[in-house]
Symmetry: C2
Subunit: 500 residues, 2 copies
């Protein structure tokens, strides 16, 4: 309870002593009305405990002269504070801080308090370990771990569709949280035609990129302690989601055919397995394609032992050798696979539209979940993409990018063979946007990245594969000239490191 | 292990018996090449267990004649299947299904299997209870629970900015998961000017609408069983998130001043409290504004008992009486408040950009979390909004909407007083987009909604307040004419119900 306060009669003289001028700092350039700035400042004094309940406020004439303002401005501020309940006026006595407010513990003026509620739970500690956005603001050239070239992105066409779609009021209202039905229709047809995936409109849930798909899949599949099989190297963001959702990761070897199905079988024989995460088509990070017999063995194991396969097919469209293998989802006759795809790699990371395809019962069960974390998607962008796909522009864009990226991959392979054959071992990838190289023991990728950064070339993501001395060299986002420029710096860096 | 299979010599004749024509159904209108359709179909036969390992395939000439295709098409399909590892050719013997594939358990042909992995965990069962998107496709007029009029939305300007922003490659690449720094800067200034909220750029996390803010706040604050205080009526989507995140909801009464602080205090004296959820400005659903002394008491309680206040200020901008009260966050000197806002109500539900403002330590801790559920926001839209706000267009748009919505509120109040004074009790709301009415016992809101639906007028969300016989009549999204038309149907409905 508040301490008994000095009576108004005594505080009358104190009102004159209060540092009004420094506590009410006015900004004459601000868009906020002057009287509201006084209101804000006085409220701040009250909530900071410096102006206590029953405190007698100075007269408006006195305060106005102190602040070099019109008296009327101060009067309006007092009226506003009175209307809001901060002050009250007692006729013939004056204006006081309301006595119905609690006495606040006084604090030093500070703009940025620390939170009182920062949790110390285990998953929170985990979250703080997650590497954050890797910005290398000074890099002039970025060798990413595999991003599309956004300079090829047909954003002009897509945003033209957006403007068109946004003219319809229907598209601007709240929408089906499963995603635009029109896009789901179009996508079902696209998936059928490009990868033999037979699914109906109601088997598709539109997500924000594949990251939300990964989160939704594991958050809904896992209970604390459930076993999830992943490769000994795997996509770090998926590993983090699995840990966050309480999963217990069991690692299996990854060789040139992909995940070892023998090792998966051995785990299944030992313990119950809830799920498996795989980038089957271009394995992340090593880029290998899971062979057909491993695919069939994996599906047979999933059927036998009843685990879910979360198939993250983030860059199916970009395959440079013969025709791409069908996704596991297209071979799944028993409802074992949750299939994730995205437009991020086809178009640009900024276009945050992905999808999750699975049996209808699972989609129905997780759709309300999606609603709780993020009401719905972007109905304007979703419909715009549907129109753009329907016009055949996605296939045209993929075809064009495929040709360009193949040239860039070939250029990088040739460069690696000619200049780095002794330092890097690699297999030319059959698809995707990056080449996986392993360094000889004499080269520490982290030191190499530090050197290239000093030359304004960033080598992104090397810290994730330090243990394997691996680097993913993203070729898709850079022209041959840029690749040559970046790789020349890498060559310099290796000489620099080996000289030491 | 697969059963021993008939030797190729024996299956030779069986190849002629296989129902090739019905199992390879070709669509000559499809965009998928004919040979790939054969590939897909044969893979489907193998994965379904109907074509077993070591099965001898028919000759390409025979199959081509059966399918009425050029022999070359079948040969290319066989070559592709061989390259992928499905088939293998033994010279002088023929082409066989690969013996390195596992024998699959035969299944009946079906396009839509049910999942083998649908979980039965408790939160999953909960999720299935969540009411899904309420679509009333046949309604010609929707009385929502409070949505903006999207016909006023300045999407033309905003998407013009989007197109402009998307020209810059930087905006299309992966971005800071905390959100566009430029928007966070602009927003910090906007929050300072419009609601006296002093926060720095690093204290803001951009979310997708306020729903993601609610999810992030509770998912990071709560451990299973933690107590969360909510009003006895409250925002249902927030209640669901709290339950999903393991929270134990404790309800307190809501009166005409808002949440009862006495009841909150009583709970705090009884048990540890982790968090409280409140829509302080226009309480959802009852629309009352939390009084100043309750605000101060609530903050004092949060300080004393160490709980977090999740303040969902979803429609701060729309206040029709005097100047709006400052949010709790603006009065928070001790880091007790997590402040949530959104552009959804200002502009349109389709513009999925919201924000969470809190002390820097909390923002730093939860930002990696946001990355795991949804990599990042929409950098193009975020930058476009920043430009649009900077040009002063948000304030202009709010001012214009405010004038229009006030007229609509007034119109609805007058209508209610004139025509429904005996049936509905209500207080004219000081802000927001809906008027909260309570029905007399003789009128069941659900039956009323059924009647209006039959007249193609939807009364949305009534099921949430059935227990209170309450209805939120959203006035903002409808013109006076539309309101009159909708309310006339409500009046008819009441007569219809009471006649029975």
């Amino acid at each position: 309870m508040p301490d008994p306060l000095p009576t108004p009669v005594i505080t009358l003289s104190m009102g004159q002593l209060y540092p009004w001028k420094s506590s009410i700092s006015l900004n004459r350039q601000s868009n906020r009305a002057m009287y509201l700035q006084i209101v804000d400042a006085l409220i701040h004094e009250i909530v900071s405990g410096r102006l206590a309940p029953e405190y007698k406020m100075p007269g408006s004439r006195y305060l106005a002269s102190l602040l070099e303002l019109n008296r009327k401005t101060v009067s309006i501020a007092y009226d506003e504070l009175t209307a809001q309940g901060w002050l009250k006026t007692i006729p013939a006595k004056g204006t006081f801080v309301s006595d119905s407010l609690p006495q606040m513990r006084p604090v030093a003026p500070t703009d940025a308090p620390t939170s009182t509620y920062l949790p110390e739970t285990s998953h929170f500690k985990f979250a703080t370990l997650v590497s954050s956005f890797r910005s290398s603001p000074k890099a002039q050239l970025r060798i990413t771990d595999g991003s599309p070239d956004v300079r090829l992105a047909p954003t002009e066409e897509i945003y033209r569709w957006c403007r068109q779609v946004a003219k319809s009021a229907t598209s601007l209202r709240y929408q089906d949280e499963q995603g635009d039905p029109y896009l789901r229709d179009t996508l079902a047809q696209y998936l059928r035609e490009t990868r033999g995936l037979v699914c109906q409109t109601e088997q598709i849930l539109i997500t924000r990129g594949s990251q939300m798909g990964i989160f939704l899949a594991f958050q809904s599949l896992l209970r604390a302690g459930d076993t999830v099989i992943v490769g000994e190297v795997s996509y770090p963001e998926a590993n983090r989601v699995i840990t966050l959702c309480g999963g217990n990761r069991q690692e299996v070897p990854v060789d040139e055919q992909g995940l070892s199905t023998d090792a998966i079988k051995a785990i299944c024989q030992r313990q119950p397995v809830r799920a498996l995460y795989i980038t089957s088509h271009h394995y992340y990070p090593t880029t290998v394609t899971l062979s057909i017999d491993r695919r069939m063995k994996l599906l047979a194991l999933a059927q036998k032992y009843g685990f879910a396969i979360v198939e993250d097919d983030y860059d199916y469209d970009f395959h440079y050798a013969s025709s791409p293998l069908l996704p596991l989802a297209s071979l799944d006759t028993h409802g074992c696979v949750i299939y994730l795809g995205s437009f991020t790699k086809c178009i640009a990371p900024a276009i945050r539209v992905g999808y999750l395809a699975a049996p209808t019962d699972f989609i129905r069960a997780i759709t309300p979940y999606r609603r709780l974390i993020d009401r719905q998607g972007d109905p304007v962008m979703e419909r715009a993409l549907a129109k753009w796909i329907e016009a055949g522009d996605l296939q045209r864009h993929v075809k064009k990018s495929l040709r360009i990226y193949r040239e860039r991959r070939n250029f990088l392979s040739q460069y690696l063979r000619e200049h780095l054959g002794c330092t890097f071992s690699f297999q030319e990838p059959e698809g995707g946007m990056a080449t996986w190289v392993r360094c000889t023991p004499s080269v520490d990728p982290l030191k190499l990245a530090q050197y290239t950064a000093s030359q304004k070339v960033s080598l992104e993501g090397v810290e994730d594969w330090q243990h394997y001395r691996g680097i993913r060299l993203g070729f898709a986002s850079l022209t041959s000239d840029e690749l040559a420029r970046g790789m020349d710096v890498v060559v310099d860096g290796i000489q620099h490191i080996q000289k030491k």
